[in-house]
């Protein structure tokens, strides 16, 4: 069972990527042709650039902001349980629900545009969802919003393991809150920061639902906000699905993911030494 649905699909994807198979018929061996085609395909490059830009923006935010949030909710003050749960709520909501909520916030006749127009801050609606790059930014906002609570819990666990005596000693030495944060908190949670960075990078490369719900089936105007998983689904399935080509793009996505996982691994190794 595990082999059937874990290993075989991967092997099969590699084989498929070397053929010109289509959804309704098997293919014949074409060597690396699909890969060459991907490198010549402007759609492939748009999707790759989108995926990488997505990662480059989302990952730093998801490494730093949840840490700040965790520090904020770490102290046991009355009612803190409520705040923790509240910040975690977007994580519980499915990506579709979150997408629906934000679609309504960001639509051209949505909450933000309506409020801004009433305040006369803007003359026309901001095209959050109908402009490719704005759509990408909107999806990033949603991903970050949903990820805050998730990674906050990781950091809470890490912060819980920092000995309180360290802080007490530093406070006696006259270190202020900022100093204590920089010289105690940051070094203690550094391994966790690397883990969060790696995890959020991998999930940023997988992003699909946010863009699908916010921007619709085509992935923004002209597919301009398509990410790699989006492209794979679009070229690989449907009546004209080119499974061979989609498999090649899949392998390239896998290699990209692998590269970022190894980068995270290497960084954490370097940290231990």
């Amino acid at each position: 069972m595990v082999v059937l649905f874990s290993l075989w699909p991967f092997v099969n994807t590699v084989i498929l990527s070397l053929t010109d198979a289509q959804i309704l018929r098997g293919g014949r061996f074409v060597g690396l042709e699909n890969y060459g085609r991907a490198l010549d395909d402007p759609d492939f490059w748009t999707a790759t650039v989108n995926s990488v830009v997505y990662l480059a923006v989302v990952v730093p935010c998801l490494v730093l902001l949840p840490l700040a949030l965790a520090v904020l909710v770490q102290r046991k003050v009355p009612g803190i349980g409520f705040f923790r749960s509240a910040f975690y709520t977007p994580v519980i909501a499915s990506a579709v629900v979150v997408g629906l909520i934000w679609q309504w916030v960001l639509r051209s006749d949505g909450l933000v545009n309506t409020v801004f127009e009433k305040l006369h801050l803007i003359s026309g609606p901001v095209p959050f969802l109908t402009d490719s790059s704005m759509l990408l930014v909107s999806a990033m906002i949603v991903t970050i919003w949903k990820g805050l609570g998730y990674y906050m819990v990781f950091y809470l666990a890490a912060l819980g393991n920092v000995p309180a005596s360290l802080y007490e000693a530093a406070a006696l030495d006259g270190a202020g809150a900022v100093r204590r944060f920089l010289s105690i908190t940051i070094p203690s949670v550094k391994p966790m920061m690397l883990l969060v960075g790696t995890l959020s990078a991998i999930s940023a490369l997988r992003v699909f639902t946010e863009i699908y719900i916010l921007g619709g089936e085509s992935g923004g105007p002209g597919g301009g906000a398509r990410t790699l998983p989006f492209l794979i689904r679009q070229v690989g399935l449907g009546f004209a699905g080119e499974t061979g080509y989609a498999a090649a793009v899949s392998i390239l996505l896998f290699l990209l993911t692998l590269a970022f996982s190894l980068l995270g691994h290497r960084l954490s190794k370097g940290d231990e030494q």
Binding site: F5, N161, R206
Partner: protein
């Protein structure tokens, strides 16, 4: 704890004021974040309560609160049917994950069968493949089994996740050798040891497997989107998406009601369990 010195006592009043200031600053920031994190959800909830004649954007609170939108969503969209479909998939996923992950994890944690290392390494390696990079091949496999557009097809690829296997393996490895030896002396056979000793010992891990596989099945969107074509078989997430995409329903109040209907049960469950959820996290902080 430490003997307080004269200097420290002298500045105590000043520090007290600073602490109060710090605390109110903390609460202020907390409330600000609360608006950012919960604001969109709360507003959506309030929108779902607004009456037909009300302006969706006019004012925060609905002037004539009504549950009408929930009724209309239930009437025009088979949301309950979608929930039923999702629950079928989730129940299958939870059962199969618990059973197979426990059995597989047990096998992997026991020494003495050839090829164990190879199997383990291969399994860990498969953790590296993002689902998106194998979904095309997965689809072809499911299609060749004739399971496209069935709930079984939705469930099958997630029937047992490698991650769950690893969780169970780690839990079984943590069971002390002495306990197992005692069971052997008592004449328990392999199956009895597994069901009477190991599974009860790994209850916590099993709960984690249960929860993650349920959440996974409940939240999944991309895979059901690929497998299912007939809207009769839609899972909840697909149903919600079709609700938003339907041109006949251009009413934010209805969409809001649908989204809330999907969110509120999960929120209720989470808030009921949040003590346990954050307990492990909080305990670390208290111990030190």
């Amino acid at each position: 704890m430490l003997p307080s010195s004269g200097v420290r006592r002298a500045s105590a009043a000043g520090r007290g004021r600073k602490a109060v200031l710090g605390l109110s600053g903390r609460y202020l920031t907390l409330c600000l974040m609360l608006v950012v994190m919960l604001g969109p959800i709360v507003w959506q909830f309030l929108t779902s309560l607004k009456g037909r004649g009300e302006d969706v954007y006019g004012g925060v609170l609905p002037s004539q609160p009504t549950l009408d939108n929930y009724v209309r969503v239930a009437e025009s969209f088979p949301l309950l049917h979608y929930v039923g479909n999702t629950l079928i998939v989730a129940a299958l996923a939870v059962t199969s994950n618990c059973v197979f992950a426990a059995m597989g994890g047990y096998a992997l944690s026991r020494a003495g069968w050839p090829g164990r290392r190879v199997v383990f390494t291969v399994l860990v390696a498969t953790l590296m493949f993002p689902f998106e990079s194998v979904m095309i091949s997965m689809f072809l496999t499911v299609r060749s089994m004739g399971l496209v557009d069935t709930l079984v097809g939705v469930w099958l690829p997630g029937a047992v996740s490698v991650l769950n296997l690893m969780i169970m393996r780690a839990a079984f490895l943590a069971v002390p050798k002495e306990v197992e030896e005692a069971a052997v002396l008592d004449g328990a056979n392999e199956w009895q040891r597994f069901t009477k000793v190991f599974v009860p010992a790994a209850k916590g891990a099993l709960a984690v497997v249960c929860l993650t596989s349920f959440m996974g099945a409940w939240d999944d969107f991309l895979w059901p989107l690929i497998v299912l074509t007939n809207s009769d078989h839609y899972t909840l997430q697909l149903g919600l998406k079709s609700l938003a995409g339907a041109t006949t329903v251009n009413d934010q109040r209805l969409i809001a009601a649908g989204a809330m209907a999907a969110l509120i049960p999960m929120m209720a469950l989470f808030f009921a369990l949040q003590r346990f959820f954050f307990k492990g996290v909080g305990e670390g902080a208290l111990k030190t």
